[in-house]
Every structure is written in C-alpha cells, then in structure tokens.
C-alpha cells in the first residue's frame, strides 16, 4: 500500500485541536485510506479520502459535518468525531496533488472482528450471540432512523462483531445522511441493495436500509443469501447482469410460500437447509414478510422494532438440548416439549421464569432485562437485571444471579423467604417466586 500520509509524519490539520501524528496505515479501500494516529496523547483512527471519491461525492464534506454535529445515534456506531483539513503548511507533505480532507473516529477495539469471518465459518460464536448481534444491529439502525438519518450502504463489510458477547460496531459511517436529502455518494453494495435501488428506480434511504438490514440479518443467522437458490444455479457467470436479474429484476425468496422457483439446492445451498429450521416460526415469518411482500413494496418492509421484539423473544425461548447441548429456539409444543434441531432428541420443557412481559426459559446464560419486568420499556439487552447460571460445581443445578443494585427476596417452596443480595445467586429448584422492586418473577415448572 502506498500511503498518502507518510507514517511517522506529524501534521497540523485544521479541526484536530492539536498536532496529528500518523502512527501507521491500517488499510485502504475504494473510498480512502485509514490510519492509526495520535492526537493529544489519544490513539484514534483517521480516514483520508481519495481525490476520486471527493470529486464524485459533492456532498460528502457537508454530510460528514452534519454527522459530527448530530453525534452518534448509539454506542454501536464508529461515528465521525472531527473533520480534518490540511493547513497550507502541511499540504506540501501530503503525497497527493489534491490535498482533500479526512475525519477522525475511535479506533475499532481488537476484540471486534469483521462479520465476514462469521459467514466464512472461521469465527467461534454461539447461536445466542449471533441472535444478540442481530438484535444490536436492528437496534442500531432503529436509533439511526429515529434521528431522521439513513445509512445507505448496509453490507457485511461495514459490520464488526464481538464473538464473546454478540456486541456489534457499524463502521464506515460516511454515507450517512438525512433521509430524502442529498443524494449521497453510494447506491449500496450489490447483494444488499433493495431491488428498487439496484434498478435505479429509487435513491437509497431508510426504506432501502430496512431491506438491506433484513438481508444482513438473514446472512448472519443462516450463513446464506436470501435470494440465491435454484435460480442461481442456472447462472454460469455471476457477473453484473446476472446479479441484476437475481437481486433486481426477478428476485424470489428461497422460502417464498407462494413461489417455489428458488428453493435451496440440497448440495449447493446446504448451509441454509441446516440453519433455517433452527429459528422459530415468528422469526421465519418476519423474513417472509421482508423478502416477499417487502421485496417490491418498500412500505411493507419489516421495521427495526419488529426485528428487535422477535429476536428478543427468540432469546427468551432459548433452551439447551439435554442430549447434545445445542441451543434450541423454536417454541415448545402445547405440552411444553420440543425436538432438538441438531440431534433430534426430545427436549423437555424445563423451568421457566414468568415475567410480566412473558416467559423466559431457565437455560444457562439467559437473562432477565428491564423490559421483562416493565413491558412498557423498549427491549434492551445491554443491562441485564438477572442471569441464569449453572452452579460452578454442580452444572445441573440452575440458579438466578441478581445483577441489579437492589436486594431481592426469594419465596421458597417451603414457604420461607430468603434475601438475595446483589451479585448473589439463588437456586431455582427451591424458588417459587422472586420479588424484585420492579416486579415479581415466578418460577414455572
């Protein structure tokens, strides 16, 4: 890589509030080059745009300025912090004929890896954390859209995951803009673009973001593309005109209940045949809405709040197969039993925690959140009130750990009551009801 900003150099950029030392180049793409820099003793990332990108995208600088002023919609975005322009004194040391500009943002923590690593099967991540990542993703786009902004370029390349927690980071926020204003510099990434944008009948905006979000969620959850089934097999060379047909002119969802032309091929598309049945009907139905009615009619696309609710409920239904240990998410039958998607063993109902917002299965790692005890609150997975944990020496013994700052009272099967201090865990087998200041949690058997 040939760097526009020589590593080791110190620049007095306008807007940085101090000298900017280029530590090293991190990477380059079609829009610009990204560097690790040090400003005022702090390590940050600096993206410097290529002259061709600036020339093509007339509103880039203004959009970035607007983004910086509005600040990040949530902590899940690696948001622009400051716009930097070269001063006349340092222009000569930039290794380019047109100096251009760049912006500062936080460095991406190393624990976050590109979502493509998950699609390629190179990442060790649990189903729970993939569903959590999907939740955080829908949540992030909900927060962005709520501010009247749209992202325009949702794709796997702009998403990073923390496999141990399912937390996400949305990067490359330089195409963000006010929905409906400013055309923006990009149309999107083929494979993620809404059909009307691919066919150039509409400009990217919040409606097309919702389509791209559904594609990204489908890919995260199934490791497959929602529109590549048997109709793809007829394509020899997957080039631009072929992508246009597949994603724009005649797109058909793999599991469209009314159009079976594009079902997965058992050999070529084996991944999705394994992963799709893992998910409960309610979640499958949302994908059907997104990729059947929502394919042609942007007004019928799945909203971010619908994804959040469905994914949160899916996590509440999480159980573990007693035979193989795999995670189960499908709703149990009326008698409470189910079958493991992985090994086919019967899965008994087990203990459930009845909260005002509905039941949460008592499986290790499942959590009670504020929205469970107060159904008026929006779903949020960031600050659990309690977590189901196995006893450290007796894994079959499940307990509920109080993660709240308050003391709880536990009503036991014997009728007695014990106090549960913050950080302590009560044995669920012995508990009937847990009294927390926010509301009661009953243990169902």
């Amino acid at each position: 890589m040939q760097w526009i900003l020589p590593p080791g150099a110190v620049f007095d950029f306008e807007g940085a509030g101090g000298p900017v030392e280029v530590v090293r180049g991190l990477g380059g793409g079609s829009q610009g080059q990204v560097y690790e820099v040090e400003v005022g003793g702090e390590r940050l990332a600096l993206k410097w745009f290529l002259p061709a990108c600036i020339a093509r995208d007339r509103t880039l600088e203004r959009r970035l300025g607007d983004c910086i002023r509005t600040t990040a919609p949530s902590e899940d975005f690696l948001w622009p912090l400051a716009l930097l322009h070269p001063t006349p004194a340092c222009t000569a040391r930039l290794r380019t004929r047109s100096p251009g500009f760049g912006y500062l943002m936080e460095l991406r923590p190393e624990a976050y890896v590109g979502a493509h690593e998950h699609l390629a099967g190179r990442l060790s991540i649990s189903l729970r954390n993939v569903l959590r990542a999907g939740f955080f993703l829908a949540d992030a786009f909900g927060a962005l859209h709520l501010r009247g902004l749209c992202y325009r370029d949702v794709s796997i390349g702009n998403l990073f995951l923390e496999p141990g927690s399912g937390r996400i980071l949305v990067c490359d926020n330089d195409n963000v803009g006010v929905n409906g204003q400013d055309p923006g510099g990009v149309l999107g990434t083929p494979g993620f673009m809404a059909p009307e944008v691919l066919l150039q009948q509409a400009r990217p905006g919040t409606a097309s973001d919702l389509f791209s979000l559904a594609v990204l969620l489908f890919r995260l959850l199934t490791r497959h593309d929602p529109l590549r089934g048997q109709m793809e097999l007829a394509i020899h060379c997957l080039d631009e005109p072929a992508r246009r047909r597949l994603y724009g002119e005649d797109p058909v969802f793999l599991f469209d209940p009314r159009d079976s032309r594009n079902r997965p091929d058992p050999i070529e598309h084996a991944a999705v045949l394994v992963t799709w049945p893992i998910y409960p009907r309610a979640l499958q139905a949302l994908f059907e809405q997104a990729f059947c009615a929502g394919l042609r009619d942007p007004g019928r696309r799945v909203r971010t709040g619908q994804w959040r609710s469905a994914l949160a409920r899916c996590l509440d239904a999480r159980r573990l197969c007693p035979a193989c240990g795999q995670e189960i998410f499908t709703e149990p039958a009326a008698d409470g039993t189910g079958v493991c998607w992985s090994c086919g063993s019967p899965v008994p109902a087990g203990l459930r925690l009845q909260t005002p917002a509905g039941p949460v299965h008592a499986a290790a790692e499942n959590e009670i959140h504020p929205h469970h005890v107060d159904p008026r609150r929006p779903e949020d997975l960031r600050t659990p009130l309690a977590r189901v944990e196995a006893h450290p020496r007796e894994p079959s013994l499940l307990g509920l750990r109080n993660l709240s700052p308050h003391r709880w009272s536990v009503e036991l099967t014997s009728g007695a009551r014990v106090a549960l201090e913050p950080g302590r865990t009560c044995n669920l087998t012995a508990a009937v009801r847990i009294h927390a200041p926010d509301g009661p949690i009953a243990v169902l058997r």
Binding site: S30, A52, C53, T96, E117, L119, G188, E240, T275, L320
Partner: protein, 244 residues
Amino acid sequence: MPFPDVRLASRPLHFLYLCDCSGSMAAQGKMQALNEAIRESLPGMVEVARRNPEARLLVRAIRFADGAAWHVERPTPVEELTWQDLGAGGVTAMGEALELAAAALRSPPMEARALPPVLVLISDGQPTDDFDRGLRALMGEPWGRKAVRLAIAMGHDADQEVLQQFIGPLASAPDASGPSPARPLQAGNASALARYIQWASTAVVGAASMPASRPAGMSSGHVPLPDLPPTVLDPADDVGPLVW
C-alpha cells in the same frame, strides 16, 4: 454451543497472470520489478480473499517468451501461493499465451458456475507470433469473453494497440486525459507497476467477487471496475524514472 459448522456457498474466481518474459524484460531490472510487484501484492490478495467468503480465489500464471508455458499451472488458492521468480530471455509469443489461457478457460476444465475470471496481461514489447489467432481462441470461449481483461504496459515500447485489442474496444471514451482500466495501464517505473498489480489483484478481484459499495453514477458492464489507485507522489516522480 458454536454456530453450526456450515459456511456461505462460494464460487471459484480464477485469476490469471500472463507475463511477458522476453529478453527485453531483462533490461533495467524490469523482470525483477515484476516478480517483486507480484510477490508484494500477495498479502493484500489473501486479505481480499478472506473478506469475500463468497469467492474461492484461485491463481494461475502463464509466462511467454519463445513459447508460452505455465508458470503456475494448478489453480492455486491464493493463501497457498508462493511466487517463484520469472526469468527473461527469448522473443514474445503472446499469441500462444492467449491460446493457453483459452484452453484453461474452456468448460471443462473450467467449472460450469463461477465468478467472472480476471486476466492480467503484462508486456513490454510486441508479439512475435500470431497474436490474432490467440485472441480469436480466447474470445471464442464464453469465459474468455466474460473475463475482466486488464493490460499493463511496462515502459514505452509495449504495443499499445495489441494490448487494447486484448482488453477489448473502448466502449465509450472515458475522459481522455487520465489513465483508465479500459485502456492499457502505463507503468513507467517500478512503483507504478507495483501500484497497478496491487490494484488488479485486490480492488478488481473484490469487484469481480463480492462487489464493493457502488458509487452513484458508476458505469456498469459485466464487472464495473473500481477507481484506479491514486497517484501517490513519490520523491522519485519529481526526477523522472529511476529504473528505466
């Protein structure tokens, strides 16, 4: 429990270097510059392959001088590739090289389903054999026609017209002043060569596999080509070419 051990379905992406190894490539270190540029580009190519799980990037190379032969014959996953030095000597059997490429792009051995192949022709001279016959053979293959064909002219003695025929006719005149991937890329020195090789093996491979985000108003085609790399000013640029 880990996510089920399944991965995204992928298609092969064949990347083929066609390298001029005629005697003139020995002059002014051009052959070594090409070897170094390709070797230098490999880590970036591995990274692009990692980022595109939908593509299985397979690399091959043909060298041509008195005749044409495989330099890397097996379609090699890029992360397994180690580049052996090419040596220079002989004339310029470019036509034969195209015939060899044509045979490799025939189905079979070519898979029935793939991503558009990428062919990169690098030359510093003029064909000494029947170039037209080679080009006809290549363009007679559906995968040859679908391929992204790029040409890099090393120095000023390369036959621009022949390289342009390899790329294909200029559809519309892109702005006539600046360099364009629809025309032979002029590598006047070692750093320009490295820049173009890097670009072809990363940005173009990316565009042919899982396309990058699409700037509004970008021209389309079988594979919309990304911007050429920016000219990063080099102290060497101010004093003229240092190597040749």
